[in-house]
């Protein structure tokens, strides 16, 4: 099989290939995910917090849908979804806002919630950060540590890996620049790490 250049470069770091479009299979890709392990777990969010997890694509394509899967909802609450640029493969912290995709409900029984009809053009082999901003404390179905990419390595204790970063952020529109003061990385241990779901066209 002849592989595209990005794949020949060892993949883009996350998705070595993607299925664009909804046929023949409707493929959703979990951000920061590198395996097919079945250990989906529930991550309980903190309110007024913006969480960032990572993705990249091996071909130029369009991000058409972006979502979260609510398994523990909170009445009258929502999450705001979006995408940020990052500093790149050698500096993965999120930087400037590319897309504020709007809100989805995170209420009891909400289940999978997606923003559809997106037209965000993605460049091949570029590192992006998907984000959700919480209004409350829902629980999302997320990737387990077993399948989540080791973006941030371990802290100085060499105790556990870290995949995602988060920062306090008042509920509302996504800021044009990802907050930088005193960010926190999720020390996942064996538990879940905040992730989202994407689809491409």
């Amino acid at each position: 099989m002849r592989v595209p250049s990005a794949q020949a470069n060892g993949g883009t770091g996350m998705y070595p290939w993607i299925d664009r479009g909804a046929s023949p299979t409707s493929s959703w890709y979990r951000t920061s995910s590198v395996g097919t392990g079945a250990n989906i777990a529930t991550y309980t969010c903190v309110a007024d917090t913006i969480y960032a997890s990572y993705f990249s694509v091996p071909v130029i394509c369009t991000l058409t849908e972006l979502g979260v899967h609510v398994v523990n909802g909170v009445a009258l609450s929502s999450a705001r979804l979006g995408v940020y640029r990052t500093g790149g493969w050698g500096s993965p912290y999120p930087t400037t806002l590319l897309l504020d995709a709007g809100t989805v409900p995170t209420t009891v029984g909400a289940g999978p919630q997606f923003v559809t009809g997106l037209t965000l053009r993605l460049q091949q082999d570029v590192l992006y950060a998907s984000v959700f901003l919480t209004q409350s404390t829902p629980g999302f179905s997320c990737g387990s540590s077993l399948t989540t990419w080791n973006t941030w390595g371990s802290d100085n204790t060499l105790a556990m890996g870290r995949s995602c970063v988060y920062h306090a952020q008042a509920w509302g529109a996504l800021p044009t620049t990802f907050p930088s003061a005193a960010p926190t990385a999720v020390n996942a241990g064996t538990g879940p790490s905040p992730t989202m779901y994407t689809r491409y066209g």
Partner: protein, 200 residues
């Protein structure tokens, strides 16, 4: 199957696709060979044994630090020698020549044992091996095997674990200019030796 398998992708491998270069906003230590964030346990070292764990990066950078975390100390004054070897490439991943010998850390007490402030240039999309050579038998931090890149495939039983690193006999001391090939073994198991790297 992990997506970074070079045989699958037909090209150079990348074990750490994204790395944090520099010490801010976090001081990030990356376990050689590790691609996920799965749980850590412990691993008992064998004396006079050199452990080689492969790693590569998507960007050119500098190895600024190398570390292990000792969880059960070995005898007074015993050490672990740390370094990096080049290798023959993704089609010949065996370690070859010494890139840099960083020196030793004591393993006679528990805790993180690191050497920092290093200057060791790493090329992008190039396979290297992080090396730990033990003088004694300390126990140290070890990421789970399911977290690791299956650099050495499986054995021929069809039932064994994937193998992430290799070992060879080597008397404790300065790292040899060429990697030892005495009693080499590809090793699998529940946990793999944790040699951590920091980049700038």
């Amino acid at each position: 199957m992990h997506p970074f398998q070079p045989s699958q992708l037909g090209g150079p491998c990348v074990i750490f696709p994204a790395i944090q270069r520099g010490l801010t906003p976090f001081s990030s230590w990356y376990a050689a060979g590790s691609i996920c964030i799965y749980s850590y346990s412990t691993f008992v070292a064998v004396a006079d044994k050199m452990y080689a764990i492969p790693f590569s990066t998507k960007v050119a950078c500098n190895v600024e630090g190398i570390a292990i975390r000792v969880t059960v100390a070995s005898g007074a004054g015993t050490r672990c020698r740390l370094g990096i070897y080049k290798c023959g490439g993704v089609g010949a991943p065996y370690p070859t020549t010494l890139l840099q010998d960083f020196g030793s850390v004591l393993t006679d007490s528990t805790g993180v044992k690191s050497i920092t402030g290093l200057t060791c240039a790493i090329q992008a999309y190039t396979l290297y091996h992080a090396i730990a050579l033990f003088e004694s038998t300390p126990t140290f931090r070890a990421p789970h095997t399911e977290d690791f890149w299956g650099a050495w495939g499986c054995n021929n039983t069809g039932t064994g674990s994937g193998r992430a690193y290799i070992t060879a006999d080597q008397a404790y001391g300065a790292l040899p200019a060429n990697y030892s090939v005495v009693n080499p073994a590809c090793v699998g198991g529940t946990y793999q030796p944790g040699v951590f790297l920091r980049f700038t």
